[in-house]
Protein backbone atom coordinates (compact mmCIF):
# COMPACT_ATOMS: atom_id res chain seq x y z
CA UNK A 1 0.00 0.00 0.00
CA UNK A 2 1.31 3.42 -0.88
CA UNK A 3 1.65 6.32 1.47
CA UNK A 4 -1.63 8.12 2.11
CA UNK A 5 -1.52 11.90 1.78
CA UNK A 6 -2.96 12.37 5.24
CA UNK A 7 -3.68 10.07 8.14
CA UNK A 8 -6.39 12.36 9.54
CA UNK A 9 -9.15 14.09 7.58
CA UNK A 10 -10.47 17.64 8.06
CA UNK A 11 -12.85 16.51 10.79
CA UNK A 12 -9.98 14.82 12.62
CA UNK A 13 -11.20 11.35 11.73
CA UNK A 14 -8.86 8.53 10.77
CA UNK A 15 -8.57 6.64 7.47
CA UNK A 16 -11.09 4.03 8.60
CA UNK A 17 -13.42 6.68 10.02
CA UNK A 18 -12.43 6.17 13.66
CA UNK A 19 -12.10 8.94 16.22
CA UNK A 20 -8.64 9.55 17.71
CA UNK A 21 -9.29 7.50 20.84
CA UNK A 22 -11.50 4.83 19.27
CA UNK A 23 -10.64 1.14 19.19
CA UNK A 24 -11.22 -1.02 16.16
CA UNK A 25 -14.15 -3.45 16.40
CA UNK A 26 -12.95 -6.40 18.45
CA UNK A 27 -14.22 -9.95 18.73
CA UNK A 28 -12.87 -12.88 20.74
CA UNK A 29 -13.68 -16.52 21.12
CA UNK A 30 -12.23 -19.04 23.54
CA UNK A 31 -11.64 -22.79 23.20
CA UNK A 32 -11.76 -23.24 19.48
CA UNK A 33 -8.95 -25.74 18.79
CA UNK A 34 -9.68 -29.34 19.76
CA UNK A 35 -6.10 -30.54 20.39
CA UNK A 36 -4.78 -27.62 22.41
CA UNK A 37 -5.12 -27.45 26.19
CA UNK A 38 -6.26 -23.89 25.74
CA UNK A 39 -6.98 -21.76 22.69
CA UNK A 40 -8.46 -18.48 21.59
CA UNK A 41 -9.23 -16.53 18.43
CA UNK A 42 -9.34 -12.78 18.08
CA UNK A 43 -10.33 -10.29 15.43
CA UNK A 44 -9.39 -6.66 15.91
CA UNK A 45 -10.15 -4.65 12.80
CA UNK A 46 -8.58 -6.67 10.04
CA UNK A 47 -6.20 -8.50 12.40
CA UNK A 48 -7.02 -12.19 12.75
CA UNK A 49 -5.06 -13.99 15.45
CA UNK A 50 -5.07 -17.54 16.74
CA UNK A 51 -3.35 -18.65 19.94
CA UNK A 52 -2.92 -22.09 21.48
CA UNK A 53 -1.45 -23.25 24.78
CA UNK A 54 0.02 -26.69 25.42
CA UNK A 55 0.94 -27.63 28.95
CA UNK A 56 1.96 -27.79 31.67
CA UNK A 57 3.75 -30.76 30.14
CA UNK A 58 7.07 -32.56 30.23
CA UNK A 59 9.93 -30.40 28.91
CA UNK A 60 11.75 -31.31 25.72
CA UNK A 61 14.71 -31.09 25.61
CA UNK A 62 14.89 -32.24 29.23
CA UNK A 63 17.88 -30.13 30.31
CA UNK A 64 15.76 -26.97 29.98
CA UNK A 65 13.54 -28.02 32.89
CA UNK A 66 13.78 -25.95 36.09
CA UNK A 67 13.58 -27.62 39.50
CA UNK A 68 11.44 -24.92 41.13
CA UNK A 69 9.07 -23.75 38.41
CA UNK A 70 7.71 -24.23 34.94
CA UNK A 71 9.34 -22.64 31.91
CA UNK A 72 7.20 -20.50 29.66
CA UNK A 73 7.94 -20.67 25.96
CA UNK A 74 6.38 -18.51 23.32
CA UNK A 75 6.39 -18.42 19.56
CA UNK A 76 4.92 -15.48 17.66
CA UNK A 77 4.63 -16.31 14.00
CA UNK A 78 3.08 -14.66 10.97
CA UNK A 79 1.44 -16.76 8.28
CA UNK A 80 3.03 -16.23 4.83
CA UNK A 81 -0.34 -15.00 3.50
CA UNK A 82 -1.01 -12.62 6.41
CA UNK A 83 0.58 -9.58 4.76
CA UNK A 84 0.51 -7.81 1.39
CA UNK A 85 3.72 -9.39 0.10
CA UNK A 86 4.25 -13.03 1.00
CA UNK A 87 6.31 -13.38 4.13
CA UNK A 88 8.83 -16.20 4.25
CA UNK A 89 7.61 -18.75 6.80
CA UNK A 90 11.08 -18.93 8.39
CA UNK A 91 11.16 -16.91 11.64
CA UNK A 92 12.46 -13.40 11.00
CA UNK A 93 14.55 -11.38 13.47
CA UNK A 94 11.44 -9.35 14.20
CA UNK A 95 9.45 -12.47 15.06
CA UNK A 96 12.24 -13.77 17.32
CA UNK A 97 12.34 -10.47 19.20
CA UNK A 98 8.55 -10.30 19.47
CA UNK A 99 8.37 -13.89 20.74
CA UNK A 100 10.72 -12.83 23.52
CA UNK A 101 8.94 -9.62 24.51
CA UNK A 102 5.56 -11.35 24.40
CA UNK A 103 6.88 -14.08 26.70
CA UNK A 104 8.19 -11.35 29.03
CA UNK A 105 4.74 -9.72 28.90
CA UNK A 106 2.84 -12.90 29.83
CA UNK A 107 5.25 -14.41 32.35
CA UNK A 108 4.48 -11.98 35.23
CA UNK A 109 0.86 -13.16 35.15
CA UNK A 110 1.45 -16.92 35.37
CA UNK A 111 2.05 -18.83 38.62
CA UNK A 112 4.95 -20.79 37.15
CA UNK A 113 6.02 -21.99 40.61
CA UNK A 114 2.94 -24.26 40.73
CA UNK A 115 4.35 -26.53 38.02
CA UNK A 116 8.05 -27.32 38.58
CA UNK A 117 9.93 -29.27 35.87
CA UNK A 118 7.27 -28.63 33.22
CA UNK A 119 6.86 -26.34 30.25
CA UNK A 120 3.96 -24.22 29.17
CA UNK A 121 4.14 -23.55 25.44
CA UNK A 122 2.29 -20.70 23.77
CA UNK A 123 1.87 -20.53 20.01
CA UNK A 124 0.58 -17.36 18.39
CA UNK A 125 -0.25 -17.41 14.70
CA UNK A 126 -1.06 -14.16 12.93
CA UNK A 127 -3.43 -15.21 10.15
CA UNK A 128 -4.00 -11.68 8.90
CA UNK A 129 -2.06 -8.60 9.96
CA UNK A 130 -3.10 -4.95 9.96
CA UNK A 131 -0.93 -3.31 12.60
CA UNK A 132 -0.76 -3.99 16.31
CA UNK A 133 -0.35 -7.73 15.97
CA UNK A 134 1.98 -8.08 18.97
CA UNK A 135 -0.72 -6.53 21.13
CA UNK A 136 -3.46 -8.64 19.58
CA UNK A 137 -1.23 -11.68 20.06
CA UNK A 138 -0.79 -10.98 23.79
CA UNK A 139 -4.52 -10.41 24.34
CA UNK A 140 -5.28 -13.69 22.55
CA UNK A 141 -2.54 -15.69 24.26
CA UNK A 142 -3.71 -14.56 27.72
CA UNK A 143 -7.18 -15.89 26.90
CA UNK A 144 -5.70 -19.19 25.70
CA UNK A 145 -3.71 -19.48 28.97
CA UNK A 146 -6.88 -18.90 30.98
CA UNK A 147 -8.73 -21.39 28.79
CA UNK A 148 -6.02 -23.96 29.55
CA UNK A 149 -6.88 -23.53 33.22
CA UNK A 150 -3.46 -22.20 34.16
CA UNK A 151 -3.59 -20.10 37.36
CA UNK A 152 -2.88 -16.43 36.64
CA UNK A 153 -2.64 -13.25 38.70
CA UNK A 154 -4.76 -11.47 36.12
CA UNK A 155 -5.43 -11.53 32.41
CA UNK A 156 -2.83 -9.71 30.35
CA UNK A 157 -4.22 -7.32 27.79
CA UNK A 158 -2.39 -5.16 25.27
CA UNK A 159 -3.09 -2.13 23.13
CA UNK A 160 -1.00 0.47 21.32
CA UNK A 161 -1.20 4.23 21.30
CA UNK A 162 0.76 6.45 18.96
CA UNK A 163 0.92 9.65 17.01
CA UNK A 164 -0.22 10.50 13.51
CA UNK A 165 -0.41 13.90 11.81
CA UNK A 166 0.57 15.51 15.12
CA UNK A 167 -2.26 13.97 17.14
CA UNK A 168 -2.17 11.13 19.66
CA UNK A 169 -4.20 8.14 18.52
CA UNK A 170 -5.30 4.80 19.95
CA UNK A 171 -5.01 1.30 18.46
CA UNK A 172 -2.91 1.96 15.37
CA UNK A 173 -3.57 0.11 12.15
CA UNK A 174 -0.81 -0.74 9.71
CA UNK A 175 -0.78 2.53 7.71
CA UNK A 176 -0.75 4.61 10.89
CA UNK A 177 2.06 2.51 12.30
CA UNK A 178 4.11 2.80 9.10
CA UNK A 179 3.56 6.45 8.28
CA UNK A 180 2.72 7.88 11.71
CA UNK A 181 5.18 9.61 14.03
CA UNK A 182 5.22 7.13 16.89
CA UNK A 183 3.97 3.76 18.08
CA UNK A 184 3.76 2.77 21.75
CA UNK A 185 2.58 -0.82 22.31
CA UNK A 186 1.74 -1.54 25.95
CA UNK A 187 0.55 -4.63 27.82
CA UNK A 188 -0.76 -4.68 31.35
CA UNK A 189 -2.58 -6.56 34.08
CA UNK A 190 -5.36 -4.03 34.71
CA UNK A 191 -6.31 -5.58 38.06
CA UNK A 192 -2.96 -4.71 39.63
CA UNK A 193 -1.87 -1.74 37.48
CA UNK A 194 1.23 -3.61 36.24
CA UNK A 195 2.75 -2.79 32.86
CA UNK A 196 4.27 -5.99 31.46
CA UNK A 197 5.21 -4.85 27.97
CA UNK A 198 6.30 -1.44 26.85
CA UNK A 199 7.99 -0.58 23.62
CA UNK A 200 8.19 2.54 21.57
CA UNK A 201 9.50 3.76 18.30
CA UNK A 202 9.15 7.14 16.71
CA UNK A 203 9.50 10.51 18.39
CA UNK A 204 7.57 11.81 21.39
CA UNK A 205 8.17 14.46 24.01
CA UNK A 206 7.91 13.42 27.67
CA UNK A 207 4.46 15.01 27.93
CA UNK A 208 3.21 13.25 24.80
CA UNK A 209 4.63 9.96 26.03
CA UNK A 210 2.81 10.32 29.35
CA UNK A 211 -0.47 10.97 27.54
CA UNK A 212 0.17 8.10 25.12
CA UNK A 213 0.60 5.52 27.85
CA UNK A 214 -2.52 6.78 29.61
CA UNK A 215 -4.39 6.41 26.34
CA UNK A 216 -3.03 2.90 25.72
CA UNK A 217 -3.98 1.86 29.27
CA UNK A 218 -7.50 3.17 28.77
CA UNK A 219 -7.70 1.08 25.58
CA UNK A 220 -6.40 -1.94 27.50
CA UNK A 221 -9.13 -1.56 30.12
CA UNK A 222 -11.82 -1.55 27.42
CA UNK A 223 -10.39 -4.65 25.72
CA UNK A 224 -10.08 -6.31 29.16
CA UNK A 225 -13.87 -6.21 29.51
CA UNK A 226 -14.31 -7.91 26.12
CA UNK A 227 -11.72 -10.50 27.18
CA UNK A 228 -13.61 -11.34 30.37
CA UNK A 229 -16.89 -11.60 28.47
CA UNK A 230 -15.29 -14.00 25.98
CA UNK A 231 -14.15 -16.26 28.82
CA UNK A 232 -17.54 -16.21 30.49
CA UNK A 233 -19.30 -16.87 27.18
CA UNK A 234 -17.61 -20.26 26.90
CA UNK A 235 -19.03 -21.43 30.21
CA UNK A 236 -22.46 -19.97 29.55
CA UNK A 237 -22.71 -22.16 26.44
CA UNK A 238 -21.52 -25.21 28.38
CA UNK A 239 -24.19 -24.55 31.03
CA UNK A 240 -26.91 -24.22 28.41
CA UNK A 241 -25.86 -27.52 26.88
CA UNK A 242 -26.06 -29.36 30.21
CA UNK A 243 -29.47 -27.88 30.96
CA UNK A 244 -30.93 -29.17 27.70
Amino acid sequence: MSKPEKLLDKKGLRLDGRKLDELRPIKMEVGILANADGSAYLEQGRNKVLAAVYGPKEVHPKHLALPDRAILRCRYHMAPFSVEERKSPAPSRREIELSKVIRDALEPAVFLEYYPRTSIDIFIEILQADGGTRCAGITTAALALADAGIPMRDLVVACAAGKADGKLILDLMDLEDKYGEADVPLAMMPGINAVTLLQMDGSLTLEEFEKAIEMAMEGCRKIYEVQKEALKAKYVTVKEETEE
Binding site: R93, K100, D104, V184, V195, T196, L198, Q199, D201, E210
Partner: protein, 265 residues
Protein backbone atom coordinates in the same frame (compact mmCIF):
# COMPACT_ATOMS: atom_id res chain seq x y z
CA UNK B 1 34.54 -15.54 39.94
CA UNK B 2 34.05 -17.12 36.55
CA UNK B 3 30.58 -18.46 37.08
CA UNK B 4 27.72 -16.13 36.24
CA UNK B 5 25.54 -17.75 38.84
CA UNK B 6 25.01 -15.47 41.82
CA UNK B 7 24.50 -17.14 45.14
CA UNK B 8 21.16 -16.77 46.88
CA UNK B 9 22.90 -15.00 49.77
CA UNK B 10 24.36 -12.40 47.44
CA UNK B 11 21.07 -11.99 45.58
CA UNK B 12 19.32 -11.29 48.86
CA UNK B 13 22.05 -8.84 49.90
CA UNK B 14 21.77 -6.92 46.61
CA UNK B 15 17.98 -6.69 46.94
CA UNK B 16 18.12 -5.60 50.59
CA UNK B 17 20.71 -2.91 49.88
CA UNK B 18 18.68 -1.49 46.99
CA UNK B 19 15.67 -1.21 49.28
CA UNK B 20 17.84 1.02 51.49
CA UNK B 21 18.97 3.09 48.51
CA UNK B 22 22.43 1.49 48.31
CA UNK B 23 24.22 -0.87 45.96
CA UNK B 24 26.67 -3.68 46.52
CA UNK B 25 29.37 -1.94 44.49
CA UNK B 26 28.96 1.30 46.41
CA UNK B 27 27.17 3.27 43.70
CA UNK B 28 24.10 5.43 44.18
CA UNK B 29 20.91 4.07 42.59
CA UNK B 30 21.10 6.52 39.69
CA UNK B 31 24.86 6.41 39.16
CA UNK B 32 26.64 4.85 36.19
CA UNK B 33 29.84 2.89 36.51
CA UNK B 34 32.95 4.53 35.09
CA UNK B 35 32.62 4.98 31.34
CA UNK B 36 35.53 5.02 28.93
CA UNK B 37 35.13 5.60 25.20
CA UNK B 38 37.83 4.95 22.61
CA UNK B 39 36.90 6.00 19.08
CA UNK B 40 38.44 4.75 15.83
CA UNK B 41 40.50 1.82 17.06
CA UNK B 42 40.01 -0.47 14.05
CA UNK B 43 41.69 1.14 11.04
CA UNK B 44 40.22 -1.31 8.51
CA UNK B 45 36.69 -0.31 9.47
CA UNK B 46 35.15 2.90 8.12
CA UNK B 47 34.16 3.67 11.70
CA UNK B 48 34.69 2.04 15.08
CA UNK B 49 34.56 2.61 18.81
CA UNK B 50 35.10 0.70 22.00
CA UNK B 51 33.11 1.46 25.11
CA UNK B 52 33.82 0.29 28.64
CA UNK B 53 31.13 0.65 31.26
CA UNK B 54 32.77 -0.76 34.36
CA UNK B 55 33.96 -4.20 33.28
CA UNK B 56 31.49 -4.39 30.41
CA UNK B 57 33.32 -3.98 27.14
CA UNK B 58 31.74 -3.57 23.70
CA UNK B 59 33.40 -2.93 20.36
CA UNK B 60 31.44 -1.63 17.40
CA UNK B 61 32.70 -1.61 13.83
CA UNK B 62 31.02 0.16 10.93
CA UNK B 63 31.56 -1.04 7.38
CA UNK B 64 30.12 0.72 4.35
CA UNK B 65 29.37 -1.11 1.14
CA UNK B 66 27.22 -0.49 -1.88
CA UNK B 67 24.14 -2.50 -2.71
CA UNK B 68 20.49 -2.34 -3.71
CA UNK B 69 17.99 -0.22 -1.77
CA UNK B 70 14.74 -1.60 -0.32
CA UNK B 71 12.10 -1.56 -3.08
CA UNK B 72 9.71 0.55 -0.96
CA UNK B 73 12.34 3.21 -0.20
CA UNK B 74 14.40 3.29 -3.44
CA UNK B 75 16.04 6.66 -2.75
CA UNK B 76 17.57 5.95 0.67
CA UNK B 77 20.62 4.16 1.95
CA UNK B 78 20.26 1.08 4.13
CA UNK B 79 21.12 0.65 7.82
CA UNK B 80 21.80 -2.84 9.17
CA UNK B 81 22.60 -3.54 12.81
CA UNK B 82 23.83 -6.91 13.97
CA UNK B 83 25.05 -8.00 17.41
CA UNK B 84 27.34 -10.87 18.28
CA UNK B 85 27.55 -12.19 21.82
CA UNK B 86 31.06 -13.52 21.21
CA UNK B 87 31.88 -16.63 23.31
CA UNK B 88 35.04 -15.00 24.68
CA UNK B 89 32.87 -12.43 26.47
CA UNK B 90 31.17 -14.69 28.99
CA UNK B 91 31.03 -18.34 30.08
CA UNK B 92 27.31 -18.25 29.27
CA UNK B 93 27.76 -17.24 25.61
CA UNK B 94 27.79 -20.11 23.13
CA UNK B 95 29.10 -20.07 19.57
CA UNK B 96 26.46 -20.16 16.86
CA UNK B 97 23.98 -17.90 15.12
CA UNK B 98 22.58 -14.96 17.15
CA UNK B 99 20.09 -16.08 19.80
CA UNK B 100 17.08 -14.07 20.95
CA UNK B 101 19.19 -11.98 23.35
CA UNK B 102 21.60 -10.98 20.58
CA UNK B 103 18.73 -10.23 18.21
CA UNK B 104 16.93 -8.13 20.82
CA UNK B 105 20.15 -6.21 21.58
CA UNK B 106 20.74 -5.48 17.88
CA UNK B 107 17.15 -4.41 17.34
CA UNK B 108 17.17 -2.01 20.31
CA UNK B 109 20.37 -0.35 19.03
CA UNK B 110 18.90 -0.31 15.51
CA UNK B 111 15.64 1.34 16.62
CA UNK B 112 17.49 4.08 18.51
CA UNK B 113 19.52 5.03 15.43
CA UNK B 114 16.66 4.58 12.97
CA UNK B 115 13.85 6.29 14.87
CA UNK B 116 15.95 9.32 15.83
CA UNK B 117 16.97 9.58 12.15
CA UNK B 118 20.57 9.70 13.32
CA UNK B 119 21.95 8.88 9.88
CA UNK B 120 20.77 10.97 6.92
CA UNK B 121 19.98 7.89 4.83
CA UNK B 122 18.59 10.05 1.99
CA UNK B 123 22.13 11.32 1.42
CA UNK B 124 23.40 7.77 0.94
CA UNK B 125 21.63 7.20 -2.37
CA UNK B 126 23.87 6.73 -5.40
CA UNK B 127 21.34 5.82 -8.11
CA UNK B 128 17.69 5.74 -6.99
CA UNK B 129 16.29 2.20 -7.08
CA UNK B 130 19.63 0.75 -8.14
CA UNK B 131 22.54 1.59 -5.98
CA UNK B 132 22.84 2.96 -2.46
CA UNK B 133 25.29 2.82 0.43
CA UNK B 134 24.65 0.16 3.05
CA UNK B 135 25.83 0.99 6.56
CA UNK B 136 26.66 -2.18 8.49
CA UNK B 137 26.87 -1.62 12.24
CA UNK B 138 28.33 -4.70 13.93
CA UNK B 139 28.15 -4.83 17.70
CA UNK B 140 30.80 -7.08 19.18
CA UNK B 141 30.43 -7.81 22.89
CA UNK B 142 33.89 -8.50 24.32
CA UNK B 143 33.19 -8.71 28.05
CA UNK B 144 29.76 -9.10 29.60
CA UNK B 145 29.33 -7.52 33.00
CA UNK B 146 25.79 -6.25 32.58
CA UNK B 147 24.02 -3.43 30.73
CA UNK B 148 25.11 -4.45 27.25
CA UNK B 149 22.38 -2.28 25.74
CA UNK B 150 23.70 1.11 26.91
CA UNK B 151 27.30 0.15 26.13
CA UNK B 152 26.36 -1.07 22.64
CA UNK B 153 24.23 1.97 21.81
CA UNK B 154 26.96 4.34 23.00
CA UNK B 155 29.64 2.46 21.05
CA UNK B 156 27.46 2.39 17.93
CA UNK B 157 26.81 6.13 18.13
CA UNK B 158 30.51 6.94 18.67
CA UNK B 159 31.48 4.66 15.79
CA UNK B 160 28.95 6.31 13.44
CA UNK B 161 30.05 9.83 14.43
CA UNK B 162 33.61 8.83 13.51
CA UNK B 163 32.74 6.98 10.29
CA UNK B 164 34.48 8.13 7.13
CA UNK B 165 33.06 7.44 3.70
CA UNK B 166 35.26 7.18 0.65
CA UNK B 167 34.87 9.72 -2.13
CA UNK B 168 33.73 8.35 -5.48
CA UNK B 169 32.67 9.25 -8.95
CA UNK B 170 30.45 7.42 -11.42
CA UNK B 171 32.07 6.16 -14.64
CA UNK B 172 29.80 4.17 -17.00
CA UNK B 173 27.50 3.18 -14.13
CA UNK B 174 30.47 1.97 -12.15
CA UNK B 175 31.66 3.43 -8.87
CA UNK B 176 35.26 4.55 -8.98
CA UNK B 177 36.87 5.38 -5.64
CA UNK B 178 38.64 8.68 -5.43
CA UNK B 179 41.22 9.76 -2.87
CA UNK B 180 40.01 11.42 0.29
CA UNK B 181 37.17 10.86 2.72
CA UNK B 182 34.12 12.65 4.01
CA UNK B 183 32.24 12.01 7.25
CA UNK B 184 29.07 9.94 7.35
CA UNK B 185 26.12 12.37 7.63
CA UNK B 186 25.09 11.97 11.29
CA UNK B 187 22.22 14.27 12.29
CA UNK B 188 21.11 13.04 15.70
CA UNK B 189 22.63 11.55 18.85
CA UNK B 190 20.40 8.82 20.31
CA UNK B 191 21.52 7.57 23.74
CA UNK B 192 20.05 4.57 25.56
CA UNK B 193 19.62 4.53 29.33
CA UNK B 194 18.71 1.23 30.98
CA UNK B 195 17.01 0.73 34.33
CA UNK B 196 16.59 -2.43 36.37
CA UNK B 197 13.77 -2.92 38.82
CA UNK B 198 15.08 -4.56 41.98
CA UNK B 199 12.95 -4.93 45.10
CA UNK B 200 10.42 -2.51 43.57
CA UNK B 201 13.06 0.22 43.12
CA UNK B 202 14.77 1.49 39.99
CA UNK B 203 18.53 1.45 39.51
CA UNK B 204 20.36 2.71 36.46
CA UNK B 205 23.13 0.80 34.63
CA UNK B 206 22.70 -2.64 36.26
CA UNK B 207 25.85 -4.75 36.39
CA UNK B 208 25.71 -8.49 35.77
CA UNK B 209 24.89 -9.58 39.31
CA UNK B 210 22.11 -7.02 39.53
CA UNK B 211 20.73 -8.30 36.23
CA UNK B 212 20.42 -11.73 37.85
CA UNK B 213 18.39 -10.24 40.68
CA UNK B 214 16.24 -7.78 38.72
CA UNK B 215 12.55 -8.39 38.08
CA UNK B 216 12.43 -6.36 34.90
CA UNK B 217 14.42 -4.05 32.70
CA UNK B 218 13.47 -0.83 30.93
CA UNK B 219 15.55 0.90 28.25
CA UNK B 220 14.64 4.41 27.17
CA UNK B 221 16.48 6.01 24.26
CA UNK B 222 16.29 9.78 23.91
CA UNK B 223 17.60 12.02 21.12
CA UNK B 224 19.59 15.24 21.27
CA UNK B 225 16.40 17.31 21.75
CA UNK B 226 15.37 15.22 24.75
CA UNK B 227 12.60 13.47 22.83
CA UNK B 228 12.02 9.79 23.41
CA UNK B 229 12.73 7.78 20.26
CA UNK B 230 12.68 4.17 21.46
CA UNK B 231 11.67 2.12 24.48
CA UNK B 232 12.05 -1.54 25.32
CA UNK B 233 10.86 -3.39 28.38
CA UNK B 234 12.43 -6.76 29.09
CA UNK B 235 12.48 -9.37 31.81
CA UNK B 236 9.72 -11.32 33.42
CA UNK B 237 8.50 -8.66 35.86
CA UNK B 238 6.42 -5.52 35.47
CA UNK B 239 6.54 -1.74 36.02
CA UNK B 240 3.98 0.65 37.43
CA UNK B 241 3.03 3.78 35.51
CA UNK B 242 4.80 5.94 38.11
CA UNK B 243 8.01 3.96 37.66
CA UNK B 244 7.84 4.32 33.87
CA UNK B 245 7.36 8.09 34.03
CA UNK B 246 10.12 8.46 36.62
CA UNK B 247 12.45 6.42 34.40
CA UNK B 248 11.59 8.55 31.35
CA UNK B 249 12.52 11.75 33.20
CA UNK B 250 15.80 10.37 34.52
CA UNK B 251 16.68 8.82 31.15
CA UNK B 252 16.55 12.26 29.55
CA UNK B 253 18.99 13.72 32.11
CA UNK B 254 21.35 10.74 32.09
CA UNK B 255 21.38 10.61 28.28
CA UNK B 256 22.45 14.27 28.17
CA UNK B 257 25.42 13.40 30.43
CA UNK B 258 26.40 10.35 28.37
CA UNK B 259 26.07 12.29 25.12
CA UNK B 260 28.85 14.63 26.25
CA UNK B 261 31.24 11.66 26.39
CA UNK B 262 30.84 10.90 22.68
CA UNK B 263 34.02 12.14 21.10
CA UNK B 264 34.78 12.93 17.51
CA UNK B 265 38.36 12.47 16.42
Amino acid sequence: MISSIVSKVKQKRIAQLVAKGKRLDGRALMEYREIKIEPSIIERAEGSAQVHIGKTQVLVGVKIETGEPFPDIPDQGVLTVNAELVPLASPTFEPGPPNEDAIELARIVDRGIRESKAIALEELCIQPGKKVFIVFVDVYVLNHDGNLIDASALAALTALVNTKMFNYEMKNDEIVKKPGYKPLPVRNYPVAVTFAKINDKLVVDPWLEEEHVMDARLTITTDKDGKICSIQKGGSGYFTTQQILEAAKIAKEKAAELRKLVVKT
